[in-house]
């Protein structure tokens, strides 16, 4: 008898252990979708709408469940997007929910691989070629996006791959020159508009070496990350770029590109520009906030970061100085992509359109510092953000931030190489040669 009790106990324990394992497996694979649906659904949509119902009637969106995935920038942005999505649900009767993901790329990849992707998801312009090439994205159907010609051409271009337009932009940011007006005025320096003025201003505003700047006893004229996402803007200003317009050939090994890189590298080598890490800052915005730099090259994400971490810091935004050939900057943008396997494409595109049409894009950007991707909304946005006008001006001459699948390898050669140039253990010639070789491998392959 005792023996049997023991066996039963053991069996029970084994069962419990096995269930524990099974439960664990469930939450790791499906948890991302299931649990968050429940949570956000309850929080955002009105109580009645949360009850599940089967999709019915081809044309109506009544009861159609839609999931929108993205990453979380700030609580305020999450709340604003939740409101817009809730409004769409209310108007159409669909049950759409915004589900921010923590490790976005990994989560999205797992969802795509398992064949159960979210209906609509954020796509960064850098990531678009990979996703389009893999066939994960549905192209924009005719008429699904209202008045497409109103969208800034450079932004539509950013989401066009192999001649196919995949998704309308959610918003965008450009790079500008952010400076401390008080410091510039005190030093008698005008806001630089050319390379020469930038070099002189950086020199005048620099008051010590990196160690002193890190310790907070001196200030650098300029702080800027050592990467193509910043230095590239200076190449555009000299009529150069890393690849040609349609990303079929490397164009880094040109006199124009070399001249631009030499100019920027020279600022660091002379000590007038510092990389953020050298002065104990995580990024240039932090260096600026801490008063370690008088000028930085950053984008629309800087004002909210200042408001959150350095609310007392005074700053102003100007367009990037123009180079010998003209102005140039980057446009960083994210779009709402619809999965190629979306369960209900019609409803998905309806959601995307409601978020990106004139009304939707203005409603989304009004409260924030990112800019609407539509020209018709730009004027109104500028009137509510007069201090950030320089960022909008950049839209006219901005270059897209996106290449071809596998280009991460090439930037993986260029960026560390540029660091080497700044640190003095590599030559620009070597970097240009290495990057060109790497790029040719990727562009051919």
């Amino acid at each position: 008898m005792r023996r049997r009790t023991f066996t039963v106990l053991v069996l029970l324990m084994a069962l419990i252990a096995a269930c524990g394992d099974g439960g664990g497996a469930d939450t790791t694979t499906a948890g991302g979708t299931e649990t968050t649906t429940g949570d956000t659904g309850a929080a955002t949509t009105a109580g009645g709408a949360a009850t599940t119902m089967a999709p019915e009637e081809g044309g109506s969106l009544e009861g159609v469940e839609l999931s929108l995935w993205g990453w979380s920038s700030s609580d305020a942005e999450n709340a604003a997007l939740n409101d817009l999505v809730a409004q769409f649900s209310e108007e159409t009767g669909a049950v759409a929910t915004f589900q921010p993901q923590a490790e976005y790329d990994v989560a999205l990849q797992a969802a795509l691989t398992s064949g159960d992707p979210p209906d609509v998801f954020y796509v960064d312009s850098l990531r678009l070629p990979d996703l389009a090439d893999a066939g994960a994205l549905a192209p924009v159907p005719d008429g699904a996006v209202s008045n497409p010609d109103d969208i800034f051409p450079s932004l539509r271009e950013a989401f066009t791959y192999d001649g196919t337009w995949y998704c309308p932009p959610k918003d965008f940011s450009t790079l500008g020159l952010i400076y401390d007006p008080d410091v510039l005025e005190a030093a008698g320096v005008a806001v630089p508009t050319t390379w020469e003025e930038l070099a002189t201003a950086a020199e005048t505003l620099t008051t010590g070496d990196a160690a002193a700047i890190a310790a907070g006893t001196a200030q650098a004229g300029l702080s800027m990350g050592v990467e193509y996402a910043r230095w590239g803007a200076f190449m555009f200003q000299n009529g150069a770029a890393i690849t040609n317009e349609d990303n079929t050939a490397m164009t880094l090994d040109t006199p124009e590109a070399r001249e631009a890189l030499e100019f920027v590298a020279g600022l660091y080598q002379d000590g007038f520009a510092v990389k953020p890490a050298a002065v104990d800052a995580g990024w240039a915005g932090e260096a600026f906030g801490q008063g370690k730099a008088a000028m930085v090259v950053e984008g629309n994400w800087l004002p909210p970061a200042m408001a959150a971490d350095f609310p007392d810091r005074n700053f102003a935004v100007a367009e990037l100085p123009a180079g010998p050939v003209g102005p140039g900057t980057f446009a960083f943008t994210v779009c709402y992509g619809v999965a190629a396997d979306a369960a209900n494409p019609e409803a998905s595109w309806a959601l995307v359109d409601s978020l990106t049409n004139e009304e939707g894009s203005l409603a989304w950007t009004e409260a924030f510092t990112v800019m609407p991707a539509r020209e018709s909304a730009a004027a109104e946005w500028t009137s509510t953000h007069p201090d950030l006008e320089a960022f909008v001006a950049g839209a006219d001459y901005a270059h897209r931030w996106g290449f071809v699948p596998g280009f991460g390898d090439v930037l993986g050669v260029l960026n560390p190489g540029l660091e080497g140039v700044v640190d003095g253990n590599m030559t620009l010639d070597q970097v240009i040669a290495d990057t060109t070789a790497a790029g040719e491998g990727v562009l051919e392959g």
Binding site: L11, S114, V279, P416, A437
Partner: protein
Amino acid sequence: MTTGSGGRVDDPAPAVPVAEAPPIVSEAAPAAAGPFKVRRGTPLKGASGLGWLFSAPAFTGLLVFVAIPIVLTAWVSLRDWSGLVSPFATEYVGFENYNELLFEDGVRRTDLAISIRNNFYYVLFVVPMQTAIAFVLAVILNNKFLKGKGFFRTSYYFPSITSSIAVTLIFLFLFQTSGAINAILPGESINWFDNANGLFHNALGVIGIEDPPVWMIENGFMGVTYWQWIAGPSVAMFAIILLVTWTSIGTFMLIFLAGLQSIPESVEEAAKVDGASTFQTFWHVTIPLMKPTIFFVVTIGLIATWQVFDQIYATNFGGPQKTTLTPAFLTYFQSFTNSEAALGAAIAMLLLLVIMFSTFLQRRFIKSTGER
């Protein structure tokens, strides 16, 4: 003494291992000979089934979370898979991914070579340092005249139970340009985590060799010049080496302590009676008796150090200038950032081979030192 039983050596007397052996054999032999014999009428009836039952949860876990993923990784590494579609809808490409990583001149081979170089130096520093320091600490703590043992044990173990990300952030602050380490050390202040200079290069610079011989820059292996191969860990990697050593010694100290406490006092007393000095007792009695534990610690250390990821992710994503890039991080980068998941899988398989090979070498080494 015989090695290879794998069990903890509780008593050095030769009689004991022999006495221990029979039950192990008698249990294993019938099962190997045929389960039917055991089932019918022997006193072991049901024992084998119960054994399977007991191990079923752990076995299921191993199968689902270890064995199947390894097989799938190997399978996926032979396909052209971006990681953005179902792997079952992809094309078989044979050893193309491996070929690209090992034989084709290009970024991917260079990246792999750099990551292996970085990780090799990391292992070379971390494993001996953490093993030696942990052993010394354990010996000190094992001293029966030491007061406040509990306090020391807790404080040495504390870094091991602290979140690795939290510890990494603290180290970032300590080693930054205006950080505490620079304040203590003389000389120019640098941000350690942002310095790509190799330690061996720096050392050569100190003794006056600034410029490498030409053949070392003009020739190389797997796309990395010989001069770069002998660079040693970068200053940034060295900061990570210090960080990891500091966090891991606690765990290994605890394992050593358990091993030391299983050595009966009588053995050491016998050695003393025979006239051995303290050092002789330590060298000729304690260390040989601790060999299974040392083997265990070094093996675990080797495997863990070849897989370093958290600290790399939390500091610089492989920078500055790729000098903290490791195969584990490269796998992550290729799989989740560069949409080359099959390539990432191939790197993971190569890393598995590297780990198996280094563990094998280490086994051979420890065995041969035992047969002196």
